[in-house]
Structure formats: structure tokens, C-alpha cells
């Protein structure tokens, strides 16, 4: 792809692979008596594609929810960009550069594709309530500037034809793409994708794979993704962490993980 990674507004960002962006240490999460995650540790390095896999109910989505502040783990700590945090709220996580998509698309159904992606710019827009209310001067200039970024994203994801349509009416595959666009509009450093290819046909999956790789290469965005399609996981990711019943059972490159006996058991079952 491009020689030098750039973010969407055109400023180059340093792509030092290997530096730790986020580390999860000994995290446990309980809902009443149910342990969703127990004592999981792993890290995500800058610029990599990190996959989180595991059977249903393994705690993958809960893990993402902890990272972006929807859930607060009872034990353990999460360090992001060198800052250890106690109870981070989702909008603070968003402000710190963590964007995400959801397992079952969570879009603003009544709004157009354009407006949906524009909401991703919320934190980048700085004009106050009163300028906004007047819709004049600086607020207007700002609106135009951000609109341009959004149009670039729309081009990138090849969804020009649905710009003005309300997203509730779009087919599922396209909704997933709009959701990715909204996350990209935040110009995130860490992008969390919760089953970005669930419920897609082969062609849509291939498109989505391509977009994920492009985002990673072109913008240098670090990506953590949950996915069930093993072929996709093995192709896309640099490293894989495997969860089962809320515990980590393996961590390593796709090839290492594939060979791991515990992983094979978890996926194929063990003879009792």
C-alpha cells in the first residue's frame, strides 16, 4: 500500500511496531456470581492485528467491553498508552483513541450513512453549544472540514451509493461497513472489532478483510478483533489470544496457537 502510514487528516503517524499500546493484567470480571473473565493477561502492541478467539461464552466480548469502558473489571488493571486506569468511562476511552464496532451492529438506524459516520467526528469537533445553536461562523467552517474527512472515509469503504440512505434499511453487510466507517471517523489508535464478519457471505467477508488490512497498513491503526472464522483469523492477525470459560488458554502467533493442544481440545472437544 502507501509507503508511509498516514492518518485520515493527512498527518503521518509513527508506526513503531512492537511498542506495547495496551496491556491487560490479571483482569477478572464478575456479574453477581457468574465469572465472565478470570485472571486474564495479554497485551496489544502498536500497529499489530490482534485476534481474540474462543468458543461461545468464553468472555471475548466482555473483554472488549472492559477495554472500552462499558464494564469495569473487579480485579486486575488495564494500562493504555502507559497510563493505568481505574474506572474509565466509554466516552473517555473514545477520547483516548479507542473506537469499536459491535457484534450485532449498533448503528443509529434513523440517520443516514453520512450522519452516522459524522457522529464519529463528535469528539473532534470543538465548537461550543452556542456557536452550534447559531450554526454560524466557526461552527459552520468546522462542519465543512469534518464533512470532508467523512467523505474520504466513504470513498475508502466504497459506500458512496448509500450516503444519504437511512442505515436501518441497508442490508446487513453494508451496515457492518457503515459501522466500521463510523469507528474510522474517530481516527482511533486502537480499533476494537467485535465479529466484523459475522453473518456475511463470502464476498462480503473478503471485502471486509481487505478493508481491515488496508486500515492497518494505510493508517497504521492497531486492531483487536474477535472472529469465529478461523481462516480469517489466521490470515489477518499477527498474534492470537485464545479464551475459554473466561480463562486464557493460549497466546501466540497463529501458527503456534493452531498447534496448541488446549486450543484443539477447546474447539474440537476432549474425549471423556
Amino acid at each position: 500500500m502507501n509507503a508511509e502510514p498516514m492518518n485520515l487528516t493527512g498527518t503521518p503517524i509513527p508506526a513503531k511496531k512492537g511498542e506495547i499500546l495496551l496491556s491487560v493484567e490479571n483482569v477478572s470480571l464478575r456479574f453477581g456470581g457468574v465469572k465472565a473473565i478470570s485472571g486474564v493477561s495479554f497485551d496489544i502492541r502498536k500497529g499489530e492485528v490482534r485476534a481474540i478467539i474462543g468458543p461461545n461464552g468464553a468472555g471475548k466480548t466482555s473483554m472488549l467491553n472492559c477495554i472500552n469502558g462499558f464494564y469495569h473489571p473487579q480485579e486486575g488493571q488495564i494500562t493504555y498508552k502507559g497510563v493505568r486506569r481505574a474506572r474509565m468511562k466509554p466516552h473517555q476511552a473514545a477520547a483516548a483513541g479507542i473506537a469499536r464496532t459491535f457484534q450485532n451492529v449498533a448503528l443509529f438506524k434513523g440517520m443516514s450513512t453520512l450522519d452516522n459516520i459524522m457522529t464519529g467526528r463528535t469528539l473532534k469537533m470543538r465548537r461550543g453549544f452556542f456557536w452550534q445553536a447559531l450554526r454560524q461562523g466557526p461552527a459552520m467552517a468546522e462542519e465543512i472540514e469534518h464533512r470532508k474527512v467523512v467523505e474520504d472515509i466513504i470513498d475508502f469503504l466504497q459506500i458512496e451509493h448509500i450516503r444519504k440512505l437511512p442505515v436501518g434499511k441497508l442490508p446487513y453487510g453494508l451496515q457492518k461497513r457503515v459501522e466500521l466507517g463510523r469507528a474510522l471517523a474517530m481516527e482511533p489508535e486502537l480499533l476494537l472489532l467485535d465479529e466484523p464478519m459475522a453473518g456475511m457471505n463470502l464476498e462480503e467477508k473478503e471485502d471486509m478483510c481487505r478493508f481491515i488490512l488496508d486500515v492497518n497498513n494505510q493508517f497504521g491503526t492497531t486492531i483487536a478483533l474477535i472472529e469465529h472464522d478461523m481462516g480469517v483469523v489466521m490470515d489477518l492477525s499477527d498474534r492470537v489470544v485464545v479464551l475459554e470459560y473466561g480463562r486464557k488458554i493460549a497466546d501466540g502467533t497463529p501458527d503456534e496457537v493452531k498447534q496448541d493442544q488446549k486450543v484443539i481440545d477447546a474447539y474440537l472437544g476432549v474425549a471423556h
Binding site: 466516552h91 440517520m111 462542519e143
Partner: protein
């Protein structure tokens, strides 16, 4: 949060408008035929005579429609307050009515204490902002993620708290709105229309103009600004809104404050036409049929619904009321709303609720 309830839509004909139209035509035809055959004259009195009156005294008709229009605008304003909060938080805010009273009382009360009128308006806005802040902090935040019915009940709590608090601070006696101090016009314009005199209260004209400006401003604000987009986003999906960095707490304060501003303007307008008293709170319940008519999530719906209810009930009272002894104004609105529920449960402009199974 935006899924309100599952309402099975009637499925006789695919297009609701066509169906409603056909039924209306059928009713009118049956009525005319019935009236011709009717010997005792009851049907004639119900179905033919009122329309003959309308045609023979058009000035009276204009007067009635105008009065309906004005109360319709005020209903629309109250409904607008409901819609704002419902859109953004999925909460049916029962306290909107008392917020109108509370805002008006604060304004008048401050003026009585010797605060100049316009400073009092600004201070009242400040009070409404504090109220929004308090409601978010004390009521909404602890109840986040609770079922809608819990939040609905919480707004009952807010209502009774505000009634008690308002009475304690300002007393229970009706007060006069400070219309002249706010440079709102008084008196009436008599216009010669269709062979008679129709009297337009100047305050009513002012109310209509101010309401229109405010509604237009709100519509632009919602449609084209970052905060407006954020408000709509919160209405659609809480978790998605959180994930793009929208702070629910901040949005709720903004929404309740906006509803507070709407309440203050409504309070001034209603107060100018009658007294400022807690009885106004009952008027706020008229917003319910308006919302059923217009749809709970639609600003244009609140406006059109308000006008239909306002005009409908004045026409009903004036032309059909005498047939059953008058006083139908108090329940006709609910009757119209009930009819609407049968044919278009999502309202004129509301989002059709489709539940996937």
C-alpha cells in the same frame, strides 16, 4: 431504548392512508344517505346542521378555527417538550406539565421579589438549567439501564416533588403573568372577514409567531449540528453513542435544559392567556392525545398533532357540543386520539415499529 412496544399493525389494506380515506368516504356517504332517510331529525342535527351553520356564518367559523389554532399551538409546545426528552432518552416525561408551571411560577415569583422582568427571564433559564442538572444527577444517572417504566415512574416522582417545592416557595395562589413587562402585546385586533368581525387577540398572534420561530430553530439545531446529531444518536442507540464518545450525561442535561426552555416559553404564553397556577398542569395532559396523533418521536408530528387537536376540539365544542349539553372540549381530544390508535398506532409521523422475530 427506542423500541417502545410491539404494536401489531392492522393489515386490511397495505397502505394506511388509503384505508383511512376509504373508511372516511364510506362514513360520509352513509351519513348523507342516513340523514336523508331520517325522519326524527337527530341525524340531521348531527351530520348536516353543523355544516350548514359553518357555511351560513363563515366569520364564526373563522373565529372558532383561529381559537383552535392558538390553543393548538400551545398544545404543540407542550408536546414538543415531551418529544424532545422522549427522542433523546426514551423516557416519557410526565413532569413536562409541571415544568411549564414551575418555569412560569419562577419567572413571576422572581419579578414579585423585585427583579426586573428580563433579568428574571435569564434567572429563570438559570433555574431551569440547574433543574436539568439536578434531574440528570439525582434521577437519571442512578437509574441508567433500568427499564423504561422505572424511568417513567421516576418522572412522576419529579412531578410531585416540583408541585410541593413550587407551592412551598411560591405559594399555591394563582398569579398574573407579567405580560406587559415582557413587552408582550395586549388587546385585540378586530378584522372584518367574510361579512362579520373576527377578533384576534394580539397575545395569540405573538404566541403563534414565537412558537413557530422556536420550532424552526429546534428543527435546524437537531438536523444540522454536532450536538443535534449526538441527540439523535443517543435516541437510536445508547451503546453506539457511548462508543463514539458521546457522553450520555451531558446529552441528558442538554435535552432537559432544552425541554426547560420550551417549558418556560409555554408557561409565559399559557400564563398570558389565563393565570399561572397549578391547574395548568392538567392542560399538559392534553399533550398525550397530541403525541398519539403526531407520534412520540416526531417534532413535525407534535406540531401538526397539536393543531389538529386544538382546532378539532374547538370546532367540536362549538358546533356539536350543544347537542349533548356542551363541555365536550375536555374529552374530545382523547376521543380523537383513540380513533387514531385504531388506524395508525404509530401516529401521523412516528416511526413505524417493526419488530424482528
Amino acid at each position: 431504548m427506542s423500541e417502545v412496544a410491539t404494536r401489531p399493525a392492522p393489515n386490511l389494506l397495505s397502505n394506511g392512508w388509503i384505508k383511512t380515506g376509504l373508511i372516511l368516504i364510506g362514513v360520509v356517504l352513509a351519513a348523507i344517505v342516513g340523514a336523508q332517510l331520517d325522519s326524527s331529525g337527530t341525524l340531521h342535527k348531527v351530520l348536516i346542521d353543523p355544516f350548514q351553520q359553518m357555511v351560513s356564518a363563515p366569520d364564526l367559523l373563522v373565529q372558532t378555527v383561529w381559537e383552535g389554532l392558538v390553543s393548538g399551538v400551545l398544545y404543540a409546545l407542550i408536546a414538543l417538550g415531551f418529544v424532545l426528552i422522549f427522542k433523546a432518552s426514551g423516557v416519557f416525561n410526565f413532569a413536562q406539565g409541571i415544568m411549564v408551571v414551575f418555569a412560569a411560577l419562577t419567572l413571576v415569583g422572581l419579578h414579585e421579589k423585585g427583579v426586573p422582568a428580563f433579568l428574571a427571564v435569564i434567572l429563570t433559564l438559570g433555574v431551569m438549567f440547574l433543574l436539568a442538572l439536578t434531574i440528570e444527577r439525582v434521577v437519571l444517572r442512578p437509574l441508567v439501564n433500568q427499564p423504561d417504566i422505572i424511568l417513567f415512574m421516576a418522572t412522576f416522582g419529579i412531578t410531585y416533588f416540583l408541585i410541593g417545592f413550587g407551592e412551598a416557595v411560591f405559594g399555591g395562589n394563582p398569579k398574573q403573568m407579567i405580560t406587559s413587562e415582557l413587552y408582550l402585546p395586549k388587546g385585540a385586533i378586530d378584522a372584518k372577514i367574510l361579512g362579520g368581525f373576527v377578533s384576534f387577540q394580539k397575545i395569540d398572534i405573538a404566541a403563534a409567531i414565537i412558537a413557530s420561530i422556536m420550532i424552526a430553530a429546534l428543527a435546524v439545531f437537531f438536523q444540522y449540528t454536532r450536538i443535534g446529531r449526538a441527540l439523535r444518536a443517543v435516541a437510536d442507540s445508547h451503546k453506539a453513542a457511548l462508543s463514539v464518545g458521546i457522553s450520555l450525561n451531558q446529552i441528558w442535561v442538554i435535552v432537559w435544559f432544552t425541554a426547560g426552555i420550551v417549558a418556560l416559553i409555554t408557561g409565559i404564553m399559557w400564563g398570558a392567556r389565563s393565570d399561572v397556577s397549578f391547574a395548568l398542569e392538567i392542560v399538559a395532559l392534553k399533550a398525550l392525545p397530541v403525541l398519539i396523533l403526531g407520534g412520540f418521536t416526531s417534532i413535525p408530528g407534535a406540531i401538526v398533532g397539536g393543531l389538529i387537536i386544538g382546532i378539532g376540539e374547538k370546532l367540536g365544542e362549538f358546533y356539536w357540543g350543544p347537542l349533548i349539553g356542551g363541555g365536550i372540549e375536555s374529552w374530545l381530544a382523547y376521543f380523537i386520539a383513540l380513533g387514531f390508535l385504531l388506524f395508525r398506532p404509530q401516529g401521523l409521523f412516528g416511526d413505524k415499529i417493526i419488530e424482528r422475530i
